[in-house]
Structures are given as C-alpha cells and as structure tokens.
Amino acid sequence: MSNQKSSLTVKDLVTIGIFSALFLILSLIGGAVLGSNPVTTFWMPLGGALLPGPAFLLLIAKVPKHGPIIILGIICAIIYFATGMHWTMPVAYLVCGVLADLVSSAGKFKNVWLNIVAYMIFALSLVPTYFMFFFARESYMSYMLQKGTDQEYLDAMVKAGQDWVLPVMIIGTLAVAFLSGLFGKKLLKKQFEKAGITA
C-alpha cells in the first residue's frame, strides 16, 4: 500500500468516484426491494449482491492497481454510516475492502476469476449487521421488552430469524455474488474489451 499514493492518478480517482456512485445505486436498488420488507429483511444481502457485479469488475478492469477497492469500501462505509446503519456495516466494508484488494492483487488485478472472488468477499460486508441479531439476541430482546414491545411481536421475529438463516444467508450471498460476477465477466468480454474502454 506504500506505493498507492504515487500510483493513483487523478483520472483513476475520478473513475473510482463515478463507479462507486454506480455501485452504490445498483446495490441500493437490489437491497432496498428486500430490505424494507420485514419478512424478507434477512435476505437483503442477497439482493444487494445481485446487481453491482459488472460495475465492480469494470472498475478493476479500468484501474488495475492497489487502491480502488479500498477506496470503494471507504466510500460505502461513509455513505452507510451517514444513512444511520448499524455501526457493524461500515466497519465490515472497510475490512472487506482491504481483503478484496489483497485477493485481487494476488492475480495482479488481471485475473478475472480472482476478481470475482474479490467481489464475493466484498459483497459479504452486508452480512455482519445480522450477527448482532443472532449473537446478541438476549440483550436485544430485553432491550425491546423494556421499550414496551410485547412478547407476541418478539416471538414472531424470532420465528422469522431461525438459526439456519445465517449460514444460508452467507452461502446465498456468495452464490448470488458469483452469478453477478459471471454476468459481469461475460459483459466485459463481449462488450467492453472490444470497445477498448478497459485499461
């Protein structure tokens, strides 16, 4: 990361900014459809992972250096923090951004399969918010009871959040992210490389 400052040009920075905007919009569209409905709220990470794969891959293809994924993670963290998400989500974006950058750099940012894996890791950053529900359930419940929510409500919420949901959520997110990445790879090959807009 020490050479990061010298190697990113202004053009790279602008490209990162524009593709982050695209990435955020696409993941919000997918996530908001599922996330705003309480019954499907546990499937929100899947929706969030569905659309932005091609944008992510094209960003790496355009800026094949250390940095873009980390900066994308920082931007997502800022935006999600600013929209009042639980604090685990921005932290997860920072950590996953660094991890994804490392994975992608293992293939010198040119290996499409490693880039897809990087995208899968990045997509996982939507999951940890739900850890709080599963692992800190007791304190969460007593907190809600104190606030005056009745027992019937909490029982139903627990019913919707069975223990099997968490592993399924993680695996599902990985699978959806993989499909999105595959689609992005196809698009890159068919359209963008021919048009000559990849670096």
Partner: protein
C-alpha cells in the same frame, strides 16, 4: 428571509450526531423529536420544501406504526411495525444527508474536506460521486427512451420475456456512459489544475461563525437529552 449559512464541517458534525443519536435512541418519541429539530434546521438553511415533505412522510410512517399497534394483530401488525421501525431508523440521517447535499456546493464541500486534512485519494472520489449520482438518474431516462425505440421494453414484462437482452441493454449503455463521463471529468479537472501539489484555495471562504456554534450546541443539547 435570509437563510442561515453553515459551514459544511458543521453539517458533517450534525450528521455524525444524528447517526450516533439513532443508535442509542431510547424511544420512538426521541426519534420524532430529532426529525423535528432537523426539520427546523432544514427550513432555516434554505430547504423548506424538501424538509417539510420529508417530515410529513415521517409523520405518516409514525402514524402508521401507532395505528397498526392499536388496531391490528398477528402477522399484519408485525409487518407494519417492523417496516416503520426499519425506515424510521434510517430516516433522520437520510433527511439530514439530503439537506447537506442540497445546500452545499461541490467546491465548498471539497474545500471543507481539504481543511479537515482528509487525503486527496478519498476527497476526489467522494466529491465526484456526490455530483454523479443525480446524473445516473438522467442517464437512466435516456436509456429507457432509446430502449423503447429499439423495441426492448425496460419493464418487468420485458425482463421476464427476454431477460439477458434486456439486462444487457441496461448495463452496457449505463457503464459506457459512466466510463466516458470519467474521461471527460478527469480531463476537465486536470485543466483546472487539480494536480497542483499546492493546497487549493476556494472562492467561497469557509470558516466557523456564530450560527455554526448555535447549530452545533442545539444538536448536541438534544443529543444529551437521551441520557436524562
């Protein structure tokens, strides 16, 4: 009426306070009060229409939550209350974020971030992103029109009938436009001397004044009432 003008750094600080206040919020009424304070701030800083509309939407959500809590039971009630709870948690910050973006110019925002000594690698992408998000919406309108011309329906029906073609017809122009825009903006930015290593100056002087202190004190004061 002259609108009060606050420093972008104050707005960021208020946003931070809102995000923390929501996580520790003791009750629904506390959140409602926070939205009310933001509404006042929005009206005073020159976004009255936006703030009032947002506040009315929030009031509707709150009403929905209270009514369904009294009159519905079982699954329906859970659906409505969790829905309004979920939106209600995000709402104050989204509202404040909208006011921040709506009342701050890009150059002013960039100057403020530079004053805070945030590295250029973050400042430039964030500024570009905030400017580009509204343009995506514009692009999407054009893409929809041209898709109709070429007889590819940009709707759910078209998506089911002809999935891969429809999806491709959305993604390819969207990303082509994005990458062309990146080239153009970076050329413009370089022309205006963004690569200059000296610190940037800004036509609009940004500094803290009395109103910044008042706004900050009001929000911090409201934040502290959570502990009473």
């Amino acid at each position: 009426m002259k609108y009060i003008h606050t420093d972008p750094r104050t707005k960021l600080f208020v946003l931070l306070i809102c995000a923390v206040a929501i996580t520790i919020s003791p009750s629904l009424y506390y959140e409602g009060g926070l939205v009310f304070v933001i509404l006042l701030y929005g009206i005073l800083s020159g976004k009255p229409k936006y703030s009032i509309i947002m506040a009315i939407i929030y009031g509707g959500l709150l009403g929905l939550a209270i009514i369904s809590n009294f009159y519905l039971s079982g699954a329906l009630r859970i659906m409505f209350t969790t829905f309004s709870d979920f939106i209600g948690k995000m709402f104050p910050c989204v509202m404040m974020g909208g006011i921040l973006v709506g009342t701050t110019q890009a150059s002013e925002f960039m100057a403020a971030l530079n004053h805070m000594h945030i590295p250029k690698n973050v400042v430039v992408p964030v500024t570009v992103m905030l400017r580009y998000i509204p343009m995506i919406q514009e692009d999407w309108g054009y893409i929809k029109d041209s898709m109709k011309l070429r007889d590819v329906a940009p709707s759910l029906k078209g998506l089911i009938k002809n999935p891969s073609q429809t999806v491709e017809c959305i993604y390819v122009p969207l990303m082509m436009a994005a990458s062309k825009m990146a080239d153009e903006i970076s050329a413009a930015a370089v022309t205006r001397g963004i690569e200059n290593p000296k610190p940037r100056t800004c036509v609009k002087q940004i500094h803290f004044c009395v109103q910044d202190i008042i706004v900050a004190v009001v929000f911090v004061g409201y934040f502290l009432t959570a502990f009473l």
